[in-house]
Symmetry: C2
């Protein structure tokens, strides 16, 4: 057991877009601290930051020191960020204020649940604390539906959002074959295509659909467009035309973050009056503009001269995909354990670190078969904050197939994460 | 037992927008026929129409006579219309072709699952059959997420869609309080506000929210706009301003079918390049245009002079709300039984009719308490086709409260239908 432990207050915060399981991680940290540092007498109070570092700097806390386990269990199963979240991305001056607030409130353990911006906040605050000789330990707990954190096999929040996308596309594909037409579904993911790729799990008979025979397949979505592959409108229209002219219908999954060959987001270019968030990003979610625009392109292109336009519809899955209350069971467990693991790192005397989820190979002693028949187990590891901070992971080459599909490797990667999917019957 | 039974083929079709439980009704009819007319020797074949009357007129059928019960059970739990659906709304000439096809294929029992247009098709075809002396019995089985059929307490498909809307609004409200802003959710319902009204079920603490104190409530959505109440943009903006200025956030449910005081749909007026369906209706679903437009109005109105616009987001729930695979258990049971009841009506010797779901009062011998503590039981009745055909039911006065809310009566009406909703914890 570590002997260098400091005694003081613990703060825990949640940051960025909420997910279906970010409260699992919050409760995991509370439990990890409670059964570790707190039991060992190193904790005065466990304080939840209201709306992340924004609340911290204002001294707005919720006292979680003695919160009953029953409340914690209900909270863990509640989607979205129970403490409130924030989109603030602290610069150096902001981080100074964070550190001042921590000093003022005798904070010695700082836990922050979020994406790569949150791990960057942890990193900066920790470096400032070290430089000023203040002993405060900083830990980052991973969270993002985009699944774009480095060092992680996948990130809590992604499996549940992927489950939603798979379920939505399964049901919507059946809708599409029932009333045939061209259907475009726009899915979250600013830079990384993992969540859009999960639409391929909706294919029940032919998940590993060959893009060269998409028009022959009985399964959908037939076309999948990721931000990692430069989006060419003419090629897109040719793809849709090819499937539609053969099948009389076409089911399409498009990432909100699709970009042209110069890296300019198609959506951002076109959304009139679009808002930018505090990170300087143009608003992609919370608008149907990209889907509607692509639908207009398709109608224009595929309407025969003097004829009737095809039935084209676009839906944007929107915010419900990140908070849908039917989370993946794997995700629930992993989000909770990630939080607990952060508490354990602190108890072990680590001074900082980011929790990462790793997937050992089938040769591992931890290997076990999953319900889907795909081998799956996960482990938790400490990685350096700087290895995760402010970096973005993309879909690896081997997860993509052609310019409009995903590979078998991706399906084997993703399928165990989402939990059991319903089995449907087609006549 | 009726003695006037005719012997021949049975056809079953599905029509209109698919739902999560329309296959339950299909299987219910197959079972009702199988255990009734078929067992009694009055059925040669049970034929499913491919894409409703469109397939029927082309002689496109799926033979369901001997479909295994296991397949039927899986099919029943599969969302969307397993036989394929159609938007065709037959006129007299089309109905002649339907009758011709029925004669040609020796159809003696005609079952059609759908909304008020489908019951009208049943009515016309039946009248033509009578006029021409052809003995064919026509039965309509109710289906519509809009819940707008006359004579019915509610309609199969609505409870599951209402469940989706309630779950989505519960989760999205938590998202909204986590990252505060103004959030507009656009919900299906062209003429009837039942589905949008179901958003009120998302309120966990204060379901019967008083519109006069919406800005004080801890619960959302705080504002609900139905097609039954003339929509006034200025009043809407004043409502939003009032809630937002007090709480710093606002959660809003809007029906896609909101209309101005002259009965003109706000969405239809504004959607550029909007498509009309074969009923002459302007396309409202499958586009984010209405939500985006309202969001633009709000941004414009609520941006302080020279200041930063508020965070405004709009999501349109889209097609997944009608086919989401987590259906309401009540809906599953009732959709199945509605189908079976139609088979029973035929076996009893009725010549035509529409199945209606009734809810007896608490004084009924059938009364039982529901899981939600709200008394609930349903019964099935035969009503005349003409009582349902081509008519629309709207939210009754007593279900509405002010111009932007629903009443306690509506909540008591709707809550038992959707099944158990998850319990969430708020700190």
């Amino acid at each position: 057991m570590a002997t260098n432990l400091v005694t003081g207050n613990v703060v825990i915060g949640q940051s960025g877009g909420p997910t279906a399981v970010i409260n699992q991680s919050l409760v995991g940290v509370v439990e990890g601290v409670r059964f570790g540092l707190q039991a060992a007498g190193h904790v005065k109070k466990v304080l939840g930051m209201r709306h992340g570092v924004r609340g911290l700097t204002k001294g707005e806390f919720l006292d979680l020191t003695d919160t009953h386990q029953d409340v914690l269990d209900r909270l863990a199963n509640t989607p979205s960020a129970g403490l409130g979240s924030t989109r603030d991305k602290p610069d150096k001056a902001y981080c100074e204020r964070i550190l001042d607030a921590c000093r003022k409130h005798d904070v010695r353990y700082f836990f922050y649940i979020g994406g790569n911006d949150s791990s960057d906040t942890c990193r900066i605050v920790r470096e400032m604390a070290v430089a000023s000789g203040y002993d405060m330990r900083c830990f980052h707990v991973p969270k993002t539906v985009d699944n774009d954190l480095r060092e992680n096999d996948h990130t809590p929040g992604f499996p549940s959002a992927a489950r939603f996308v798979a379920m939505a596309c399964m049901a919507d594909f059946l809708d599409n074959i029932s009333l045939p037409g061209i259907k475009i579904n726009v899915i979250m993911g600013r830079h990384a295509g993992f969540l859009t790729a999960a639409s391929a799990l909706a294919r029940r008979y032919d998940r590993n659909l060959n893009p060269n025979v998409a028009a022959e397949s009985t399964d959908g979505p037939q076309l999948i467009y990721l931000p990692e592959v430069p989006f060419d409108v003419d090629r897109f229209l040719a793809d849709v035309d090819s499937v539609y002219s053969k099948k009389g219908r076409c089911h399409i999954a498009v990432s909100e973050g699709i970009q042209d060959k110069d890296g300019v987001a198609i959506g951002a270019r076109l959304i009139k009056g679009g808002q930018t968030d505090s990170h300087g990003n143009v608003q992609l979610s919370g608008s149907g503009a990209l889907g509607d625009l692509l639908a207009d392109f398709v109608k224009e292109k595929l309407t025969p001269a003097g004829g009737k336009p095809p039935r084209v519809r676009a839906d944007t899955f929107g915010y419900i995909q990140r908070c849908w209350p039917d989370s993946s069971i794997i995700d629930r467990i992993e989000a909770r354990r990630s939080g607990r693991f952060a508490g354990t790192l602190a108890m072990q005397g680590w001074l900082d670190g980011s929790v990462a989820i790793k997937r050992p190979g089938t040769g591992s002693a931890l290997w076990m078969g999953s319900d889907n028949g795909v081998p799956y187990i996960s482990e938790y590891a400490r990685v350096e904050l700087s290895a995760v901070a402010a970096k973005t992971r993309h879909m690896p080459e081997e997860f993509m197939l052609g310019h409009n599909n995903v590979s078998k490797q991706f399906l084997e990667y993703c399928l165990p994460l989402v939990g059991d999917l319903p089995g449907f019957e087609r006549l």
